[in-house]
C-alpha cells in the first residue's frame, strides 16, 4: 500500500500532536482539579511539573550509573521516585502557600504560589545548574507505518510515542473512573460543589483539598517524566511555558471540567503540531492563543465548562 505523501505527512503530525497533547492534558488536570475545589489557579503547578521532570532525570542518571539495564524496571523506579517526591511537594505547596491564606483576599495565595515557584526554580537552578541537562536516549526504535523508500516521506511512530500515548490514556481512564465511581471521587466532586455542605456530612475538607493537590502533582510528575524521556533534554525553566500551555488547555476545555482538561490538552498538542507542520513553526504559540481567544469569544466557559453563574 502506498500512501500519498501529503497523507503521510498529515499522519506524522497527528502522531506528534497526540503525544504532545496527552502530556499537556496530564498537566491540565492538575489546574482544573485545584480550581474546581479551591476556586483558584495554582500558579505553582508549572514548577511542580518541572520538579517531576528533574526528579525523573536524576533517577535515570542514577540508575544508569549503577548499570541497571532493564527498561521496565527502570521506568517503574523512575516513575515511583518522581511521583512520590513531586506529590509531596504538591502537598507542601498547599500547606505552605494556600491553606494559611484560605480566607485571605484572593491575591494573597496567588502571590504565595508564585513565591514557592520562584523558590523551587532557583533551588533547581542552584543544585542542578542553569544549563540544560540531557539523558541517554531511552527506548530507541519504533514502527515505520508507511514507506520511506524511493525518498518518499516515512511515517514512523517511536516506541516511546506509543508508550506515552498508551500510558497517558490508561492513566486518564483510571483517573476518570476514580473520580466517577469511588467514594474518594464522590467526596472530591462534592467538595468542588459545596465545601461547607461536604463538611456537614463529615467529609474532612482539608484532607480532600490536600488529596487534590497531591493527585494533580502526581499527574504532573508523570508528564514531567514523559517529557524527560521524550525530548531527552530539560532545564530548570521548562515549567513556565508548559505551565502556561497546560493552563491554556484547562481554560480551553473549560476550567473545572476534567474531560475538558483532557480535551483541551489534546487540542493544544494537535494545534501546535499541525501549525508547526503546515505553517510557520515559530508562530505555533500565537496559533494556540489565537484559537483560545476565538473559542472564549464564542464560549466564555470553554468547550466543556459550565456557564459561570453568580454565586449567592
Amino acid at each position: 500500500m502506498q500512501v500519498p505523501p501529503p497523507m503521510a505527512y498529515f499522519l506524522q503530525q497527528l502522531i506528534n500532536g497526540l503525544v504532545l497533547g496527552s502530556i499537556y492534558g496530564l498537566i491540565a488536570i492538575g489546574y482544573t482539579m485545584v480550581y474546581g475545589i479551591v476556586g483558584m489557579i495554582n500558579f505553582a503547578h508549572g514548577e511542580i511539573y518541572m520538579l517531576g521532570a528533574f526528579l525523573a532525570l536524576i533517577a535515570f542518571v542514577a540508575l544508569s550509573a549503577i548499570g541497571l539495564s532493564s527498561v521496565p524496571i527502570t521506568l517503574v523506579i523512575v516513575l515511583v521516585v518522581s511521583v512520590t517526591f513531586t506529590a509531596a511537594w504538591g502537598w507542601t505547596v498547599e500547606r505552605v502557600a494556600y491553606r494559611p491564606l484560605r480566607n485571605s483576599p484572593r491575591l494573597a495565595p496567588l502571590i504565595s504560589a508564585i513565591g514557592v515557584s520562584i523558590f523551587l526554580q532557583n533551588f533547581v537552578q542552584l543544585t542542578q545548574g542553569a544549563r540544560s541537562k540531557a539523558i541517554q536516549p531511552f527506548l530507541r526504535g519504533g514502527v515505520t507505518l508507511y514507506g520511506g523508500g524511493d525518498g518518499a516521506f516515512a511515517v514512523t511512530v517511536s516506541w516511546l510515542q506509543i508508550f506515552i500515548v498508551v500510558f497517558t490514556t490508561v492513566l486518564m481512564i483510571g483517573f476518570t473512573l476514580l473520580i466517577a465511581r469511588t467514594s474518594l471521587g464522590r467526596a472530591q466532586r462534592a467538595c468542588s460543589q459545596d465545601l461547607k455542605m461536604a463538611s456537614l456530612l463529615g467529609i474532612d475538607v482539608d484532607k480532600t483539598i490536600s488529596t487534590t493537590f497531591v493527585i494533580g502533582a502526581a499527574l504532573a510528575a508523570v508528564a514531567g517524566m514523559l517529557v524527560t524521556l521524550y525530548y531527552g533534554v530539560i532545564d530548570f525553566f521548562i515549567g513556565f511555558l508548559a505551565g502556561i500551555k497546560a493552563f491554556t488547555a484547562a481554560v480551553l476545555g473549560g476550567i473545572g471540567s476534567l474531560p475538558g482538561a483532557m480535551l483541551g490538552g489534546l487540542l493544544i498538542g494537535l494545534i501546535e503540531a499541525f501549525w508547526s507542520g503546515y505553517a510557520a513553526a515559530e508562530y505555533k504559540d500565537v496559533a494556540v492563543y489565537g484559537i483560545l481567544v476565538l473559542v472564549l469569544t464564542v464560549r466564555p466557559q470553554g468547550l466543556l465548562g459550565r456557564p459561570a453563574i453568580e454565586k449567592v
Binding site: S183, R186, A187, R189, A190, Q193, D194, K196, M197, A198, S199, L200, L201, G202, I203, D204, V205
Partner: protein
C-alpha cells in the same frame, strides 16, 4: 443531649448570637422560631462550628464540641438539612444519598436507603437524576433523606417548609414526625412556619435578634399572645 450555654458567635465584628442558651433532650422535637435575620440559621451552623463559638459552650452527649471542626462534629452523630437545602446539584440523587451515608456503617447502607425511599418514594423514581434538576420540594426531601443516611442521633432542620406548596409541606412535616417517632431521632427544627412547627414540637424557643426571648412547650407558645402577635399572623389566626 445538646446544651448550649451562653453561646456568642460573630460574622466579622457583627455579633449574630448574643448569648444563647438552649437545651435539646433525647427523643424530643424542639422548635426554634423567629423572624428573618433573628439568627436561627446561625445557631444551627454554630453548633457545627462555623461560625466558631466565641464565648460560651456547646455540650453534646457530655462532650464539649465548641472547639471541634465541622466534620468532627458531624462524626459525633449530628446531621443537618441546612438552609437552602444545599443538595449537590451536579451529582445524582443517589450520589447525594451516598455522600450522606459516609458516617454510617457501610453494611447498613441498603437498609437506610430503603427507608429513605419508603419515606420519599419520589426520590427513588429520580435516583439517577441530577439533584439540580429536582423541584424545590424534591430537593428538600433529598436534603432530609441525605441527612438521615448517616443515622444521626440529632437532626437539625433549617426551614424545611420554606417556599413549598401546602401539600408538600404537610408531607415534610409528616416525615419529620415519623423520623422522630420511628427512628427515635432527636430533632431541632428551625421554622418560620411557626404554627405547624409549634404543633409538632414538644418544646420551643423563640429567638429574637440573637437572643432567646421566650421558651415553653409547643402548646404554651401557641397560646401565648406575644407569639401569636409576632409569628402566627395576629391573635385571631390559628
Amino acid at each position: 443531649m445538646l446544651e448550649l450555654t451562653d453561646v456568642r458567635s460573630f460574622y466579622g465584628a457583627i455579633e449574630a448570637l448574643k448569648g444563647v442558651s438552649i437545651e435539646v433532650r433525647q427523643g424530643e422535637i424542639v422548635a426554634l422560631i423567629g423572624a428573618n435575620g433573628a439568627g436561627k440559621s446561625t445557631l444551627l451552623m454554630t453548633i457545627f462550628g462555623s461560625p466558631r463559638v466565641r464565648h460560651g459552650s456547646i455540650n453534646f452527649l457530655g462532650q464539649d464540641i465548641s472547639r471541634l471542626k465541622t466534620h468532627e462534629i458531624a462524626r459525633l452523630g449530628i446531621a443537618q438539612a441546612p438552609e437552602g437545602r444545599r443538595v449537590f446539584p451536579r451529582l445524582t440523587v443517589l450520589e447525594n444519598l451516598k455522600l450522606g451515608a459516609i458516617l454510617a456503617p457501610p453494611a447498613n447502607f441498603d437498609r437506610n436507603l430503603a427507608r429513605a425511599y419508603a419515606m420519599f418514594p419520589r426520590l427513588q423514581e429520580r435516583q439517577g437524576q441530577r439533584a439540580g434538576t429536582l423541584s424545590g420540594g424534591e430537593q428538600q426531601m433529598l436534603a432530609i433523606a441525605r441527612a438521615l443516611m448517616s443515622e444521626p442521633k440529632l437532626l437539625l432542620l433549617d426551614e424545611p417548609s420554606l417556599g413549598l406548596a401546602p401539600l408538600i409541606v404537610r408531607q415534610i412535616f409528616a416525615a419529620i414526625a415519623e423520623i422522630n417517632r420511628e427512628h427515635g431521632t432527636t430533632v431541632l427544627l428551625v421554622e418560620q412556619n411557626a404554627h405547624q412547627a409549634l404543633k409538632l414540637a414538644n418544646r420551643a424557643y423563640v429567638l429574637v435578634n440573637g437572643r432567646i426571648q421566650s421558651t415553653g412547650t409547643g402548646a404554651e407558645l401557641l397560646a401565648s399572645d406575644e407569639v401569636r402577635e409576632a409569628y402566627l399572623g395576629g391573635a385571631g389566626h390559628h
